[in-house]
């Protein structure tokens, strides 16, 4: 399948300014020049999206129409605020545990219409065609009482379509927000997401991402994060049930004493393909970044971690760490890791490591001598391998919810 978008697509956007129209056209032109990224591009060398899409889709239409729904069941596991997105659009929200004057949530509108060169053509595609999304702002000096779950629901109407959606989160000075990004999908479709997160001075954002079930979703997200002085960003990524998932995350540590943590515990099964690509830019002194990516790979699954740490000359006393560990359950699985350090300051602490290997037979033997079957023993070992990432979560109720979700996927192990 040859995926090219005709310029008439832009004409379908009726109520946009000329400026926005020009912005979209310019981005579309760029996208059509490059097309879907293929492994010829360094950033995509382990993920040939062009081939993946053409092998799995006979046709792919751009998503236009949306629906409304009201009959949605929220989780009962713990008290939370929520935002419901339906096919990427803001459907409803509830902040009953919070002071609503401190929170602003609305449909996404593009304000920055300056064209920027980007190495990732999917970002251009997103700029050209985005139809929906949300924008969330937290006022200064406000700490959320409860976590916010973002229910990312995709209906059956998105089958064989590509959705381009955006979201923007701004946490103002001295505020703290905890999110759980919870995807619920049953369709075979492509979701191309663009995210912008800004953390003002001394603010904190903690985000947990996970999928409810296994699905035929093909997800790509470009995430741009800006961390100002003293701010902290924590991202935890859990078992992706998606057929394809690539996260391309960039974090600019703009101010001193910033902290950026990215940790992942992924159990990939049955031809799933998942890539985490990060670029952490240490641009000011005394900043910290910590990345730990754990993959368990089963039956033809493929996992990739490309992590780059950039340290600018003025960013002295940078403390940057990255580690990836993979556990391969079969010979038909694949894990690729490409760590990269680019350092221009001389007083820094940077380290990286990557290991991958099979399950240790001796460990299995030990567990089996205690009466556990091979399957049960393997599940215990897999769970144990991923568990230390779950343990990062402080709230016990949320931890239990995440662990049982992860276990459910591991217990599918045959």
């Amino acid at each position: 399948m040859n995926f090219e978008i005709k310029s008439e697509e832009i004409n379908k956007f009726k109520e946009i300014s000329q400026e926005e129209k020009d912005f979209r056209i310019k981005n579309l032109k760029y996208f059509n020049n490059i097309g879907l990224p293929s492994k010829k591009l360094e950033d995509w060398k382990f993920t040939d999206l062009r081939e993946i899409i053409s092998n799995n889709f006979k046709k792919l239409d751009t998503f236009q129409k949306n629906e409304k729904f009201s009959n949605f069941k929220i989780l009962k596991d713990f008290e939370h605020n929520y935002i419901i997105l339906l096919n990427g659009s803001l459907n409803s929200f509830d902040f009953s545990f919070e002071d609503s004057s401190k929170i602003k949530i609305e449909n996404y509108t593009e304000k920055n219409l300056k064209y920027e060169d980007n190495k990732n053509s999917l970002v251009n595609l997103n700029h050209a065609l985005f139809t929906n999304g949300y924008s969330l702002e937290v006022e200064s000096n406000y700490k959320f009482n409860k976590v916010v779950i973002i229910y990312n629901f995709f209906s059956e109407n998105v089958e064989n379509q590509i959705i381009n959606k955006k979201n923007k989160i701004l946490v103002k000075k001295n505020s703290e927000l905890h999110l759980i990004d919870y995807t619920i999908n049953k369709s075979k479709f492509v979701c191309n997401n663009y995210e912008e997160i800004t953390l003002e001075e001394n603010s904190i954002l903690k985000n947990i991402s996970l999928q409810k079930d296994r699905s035929d979703g093909y997800f790509h997200k470009f995430s741009k994060n800006k961390l100002n002085k003293g701010s902290k960003y924590n991202q935890l990524l859990f078992s992706s049930g998606l057929k394809f998932n690539k996260l391309d995350l960039e974090a600019d540590l703009l101010g001193e004493d910033t902290e950026c943590n990215i940790q992942a515990a992924l159990y990939l099964n049955q031809n799933q393909h998942q890539e985490i690509k990060t670029r952490i830019n240490h641009l000011a002194p005394n900043s910290k970044s910590y990345q730990k990516i754990k993959n368990v790979l089963n039956s033809n699954a493929k996992g990739i971690y490309q992590g780059k740490i950039y340290v600018k000359d003025i960013a002295q006393k940078t403390d940057a760490y990255q580690l990836s560990k993979a556990l391969l359950l079969n010979d038909d699985t694949e894990f690729n890791s490409k760590p990269e350090l680019e350092i221009y300051a001389d007083d820094v602490k940077c380290s990286h490591g990557s290991t991958s290997g099979n399950v240790e037979e001796d460990s299995l033997y030990y567990l089996m001598t205690r009466g556990l079957s091979r399957k049960e023993s393997l599940r215990l070992l897999i769970n144990g391998f991923l568990n230390d990432i779950v343990d990062v979560i402080k709230s016990n109720t949320i931890k239990d919810f995440i662990s049982s979700n992860l276990e459910k996927q591991i217990y599918e192990y045959k």
């Binding site: 030990y366 567990l367 205690r370 009466g371 144990g384 391998f385």
Partner: protein, 244 residues
């Protein structure tokens, strides 16, 4: 309880056990001593069903030849192996593991699964009997445990799973005298007419605390001498060379 007949075992075409015969009655404690490389650990592994060995002969356990039965089924039938080098299992909570393990043994016996409260009560009771700090049970299985803690944890697992036949593979190696007493106490307090023990050791030191009914000397894959408790004492004096 256990009758081993003409047991031969090889690994990677190397013969290790070369026709071993041994009979253990219910209620008996047997000790197997022998120099390095005589096949002691192989015997423990073959009894528990470890993969990778070419095995011939008979392993009659409670009237059934278990030679071709998988590892976990042997465990469920009441065979327990205390490891010489217990493995560290990161991320797996010791208590959760023990509960899962106990329940799989109970299920195989047709018993009801134990609930968490009764399980914790049982663990507490057994741990205090052995003088083991319960705190280690809320840690990851053997991770960061000292040598002594690991061995004590093996004996605690033995007490909780309550096997008919317990094999202790050099459980005494690397232990100080207090830990050695804990281990011995664990075995002695479990001794009864329905249970048997096979204690594999280098030194007779442990046998000062656990008095075996029979002592065997294993050399080059065969039992070359059997006797009563005083055989261990004799070995300590003369070494293995004289007997070989």
């Amino acid at each position: 309880m256990l009758e081993i007949k003409n047991l031969k075992a090889s690994i990677n075409n190397k013969d290790i056990l070369k026709g071993l015969n041994l009979k253990i009655q219910s209620g008996e404690v047997h000790a197997i001593m022998g120099p390095n490389g005589s096949g002691k650990s192989t015997l423990a592994n073959v009894l528990s069903g470890k993969n990778g060995y070419e095995v011939t002969g008979e392993l009659n356990y409670k009237g059934e030849n278990i030679k071709d039965i998988p590892i976990e089924e042997r465990a469920q039938k009441g065979i327990f192996l205390a490891f010489q080098y217990p493995l560290e299992i990161p991320g797996v909570n010791t208590n959760n593991f023990l509960k899962t393990s106990l329940n799989s043994v109970r299920k195989a016996k047709g018993e009801k699964e134990i609930d968490t409260i009764s399980f914790l009560k049982l663990v507490k009771e057994k741990a205090s009997e052995l003088g083991i700090d319960e705190k280690i049970l809320s840690r990851q299985l053997n991770v960061g445990f000292s040598g002594g803690e690991k061995k004590k944890n093996e004996i605690l697992q033995m007490k909780i799973l309550n096997p008919y036949l317990a094999i202790l593979d050099e459980t005494d190696s690397g232990l100080d005298i207090d830990a050695l007493k804990t281990i011995a106490n664990g075995v002695n307090s479990s001794r009864d007419k329905e249970k048997s023990f096979l204690i594999i050791t280098h030194y007779q030191r442990l046998l000062d605390y656990i008095k075996p009914d029979h002592v065997h000397v294993l050399s080059d894959g065969k039992i070359i001498k059997s006797g009563k408790h005083d055989l261990a004492k004799q070995l300590e004096k003369t070494g293995y060379k004289k007997i070989q």
